[in-house]
């Protein structure tokens, strides 16, 4: 039995989770929400996290009905992510570790997502599509590592969605992606966009530039140097959201299917913030059905960054005897999924 508390703060979410032997005891989270048209900046995000993190720690213990003495290990996100918000989590974790005299473990954020997904869905050895604001990866487990088979060669899919939401000034509350998803439901007309798949890799930056021009006819007019009196076609925001989703999700489903064929696997697990998009889940589900495969998806409580996933992945590591010297409790912005030795999986 391992009872672990996890702190996650690699981006604009700060979350604390407590897990006891795979059982969810607490999962609390706050999100730093910026005004429409603005993204979150590292310094302001860290400030937000500092203001709420201690209250969250208390709330999580209350929700779990535990005392600090009941915990076995304190886990925090070591990376990848933005350094200032990551540091907030790390500093609080170190402090709690010393204060409560509990061991400390740094966890890879991406591994947290994968292990959380496996825990909640019970998927054994799926192809993992990890899609969030900072990451787009198709991952398969082999020989004690989560190996990256396909990924974006430029910006992440969530970043593409977030930035498009900023261009058309959609609200960031609760998240830009959610608001795009809702608006897309009203879209009727499919607008042709670039479709960029390179092997098992994808690229989104060209699509973003293209749709940015479609969304802002003024810019288009200046760029093309057409006569000013010739009207440019105008597209509704709903149609743009709809077409953007249809295009980039089709790309994601396609590379996932390629990885399934390449690795001869028939299970798919979607994790990461974009993973709670229901249209993406639906498209992936249809693909799986066509191949007699099985889709595992999770809702926003576990998909979006949360402390629970860090607690759970940390608990798995702790069980296998992984220890981290206190001097190593730093954070790192660069920490690839395949750098972690997965010694808790037996297969």
């Amino acid at each position: 039995m391992v009872c672990a508390l996890g702190i996650e703060g690699s981006a604009n979410k700060i979350g604390i989770g407590i897990v006891n032997d795979g059982k969810v005891l607490a999962n609390v989270r706050r999100t730093y929400i910026t005004p429409p048209g603005e993204g979150f900046l590292p310094k302001e995000t860290a400030k937000h996290h500092r203001e709420v993190i201690l209250a969250l720690v208390q709330a999580s213990l209350k929700e779990a009905q535990l005392q600090p003495a009941d915990l076995d290990v304190i886990c925090y996100t070591k990376g990848p992510g933005m350094a200032p918000p990551l540091l907030v989590g790390a500093i609080v974790a170190r402090t709690l570790s010393l204060l409560w005299q509990k061991p400390l473990l740094g966890v890879n954020h991406c591994i947290g997502h994968i292990e959380m997904g496996r825990l909640i869905t019970g998927a054994q050895n799926p192809i993992v599509l990890y899609v969030s604001g900072g990451n787009t990866q198709v991952i398969a487990y082999s020989n004690k590592r989560y190996r990256i088979f396909g990924e974006t060669i430029d910006i992440a899919v969530g970043n593409c969605l977030d930035r498009f939401a900023r261009i058309i000034k959609l609200s960031n509350d609760p998240s830009p992606g959610y608001n795009i998803e809702q608006l897309a439901k009203e879209g009727k007309q499919y607008i042709k966009l670039p479709y960029v798949v390179k092997g098992m890799d994808v690229s989104f930056s060209g699509i973003l530039s293209h749709i940015e021009e479609l969304a802002e006819p003024e810019k288009r007019r200046n760029k093309r140097k057409k006569p000013q009196d010739e009207p440019e076609p105008e597209y509704s925001q709903a149609d743009l959201c709809y077409s953007l989703q249809e295009t980039i999700f089709a790309m994601l489903v396609e590379i996932t299917e390629r990885a399934m064929a390449h690795c001869e696997s028939n299970e798919v697990l979607i994790v990461g913030g974009v993973g709670c998009n229901e249209r993406l889940q639906q498209m992936m589900g249809i693909m799986c059905e066509e191949r007699n495969g099985k889709l595992f998806a999770i809702d926003e409580r576990y998909c979006i960054d949360n402390g629970l996933m860090i607690a759970h992945a940390g608990a798995e590591m702790f069980k296998t005897g992984t220890k981290m010297p206190f001097e190593d409790s730093f954070v790192t912005q660069r920490y690839r999924t395949d750098e972690v030795l997965v010694n808790w999986r037996e297969d």
């Binding site: 990376g79 990848p80 991406c110 479709y195 390179k198 092997g199 098992m200 089709a250 066509e290 912005q333």
Partner: protein, 227 residues
């Protein structure tokens, strides 16, 4: 006509069939219901055309690829040459390692990589970008009477295009490097031999392509930053 399904790939089914009395491989791309119909039609047509064109270009340049006998855009079927005794390079590498052990496998695999690299170089010299270079898309066809022992045949040109841009060539190499790292992680030496041989045959843009390749790689590294 009874058709034998050989494989269900990511994009289509492969059958054994006949075309004008000749036995051949039929690759049928099926409609992907998860995609918007307009997008699906566009992608399917584009890829079938790309496959026919690139295979033709390769053959014309002396690079082995399946001969396309017929393409039927309405039923989404391509009829092409079938290599019955071939296996994929992925299986060939895995088998060689399993059979002769990690150390003994090195020499024959390095030789394989040199040949693969040379062919990719030739392909790029002819401005054919494969678009999906993995060891699943390279066939090893035994030729018992030749001194090399096998032919190397490139397949699956659906994502290919014709372009002389160094960017596209760089990305093509990057896709291959990543595929090798994930599929053959225990044999990290493969790519360097491919690249060394590639440089000798890829033509006058060698330096520019290599510089572009490094740049594409750097984009990848930068991306490791954010979680």
């Amino acid at each position: 006509m009874a058709l034998e399904i050989i494989k269900q790939g990511a994009e289509g089914r492969l059958y054994l069939g006949e075309y004008k009395g000749e036995s051949c491989l039929i690759k049928e791309r099926f409609v992907k219901k998860y995609r918007h119909p307009e997008l699906d039609t566009q992608i399917t047509r584009q890829r079938m055309k790309a496959e026919v064109k690139a295979a033709g270009r390769c053959l014309a340049a002396g690079i082995l690829a399946p001969k396309i006998l017929h393409s039927d855009l309405n039923t989404h079927k391509l009829y092409m040459e079938y290599f019955g005794s071939a296996q994929t390079a992925k299986h060939f590498i895995q088998q060689t390692v399993a059979k002769s052990g990690e150390e003994q496998a090195k020499q024959p695999l390095e030789e394989l990589c040199r040949r693969i690299g040379g062919i990719i170089g030739q392909m790029h010299a002819n401005n054919v970008i494969h678009g999906d270079l993995t060891t699943s898309n390279i066939l090893i066809n035994p030729t018992p009477n030749s001194s090399d022992g096998y032919d190397i045949i490139f397949i699956d040109f659906g994502l290919s295009h014709y372009n002389q841009a160094t960017e596209d060539k760089g990305v093509d190499l990057y896709v291959l490097e990543r595929a090798l790292l994930s599929t053959h992680s225990e044999q990290p030496y493969l790519f360097e031999h491919i690249l060394a041989a590639y440089r000798k045959t890829c033509g006058k843009d060698e330096a520019a392509v290599l510089a572009k390749f490094e740049e594409v790689r750097a984009r990848g590294r930068k991306r490791t930053m954010i979680g």
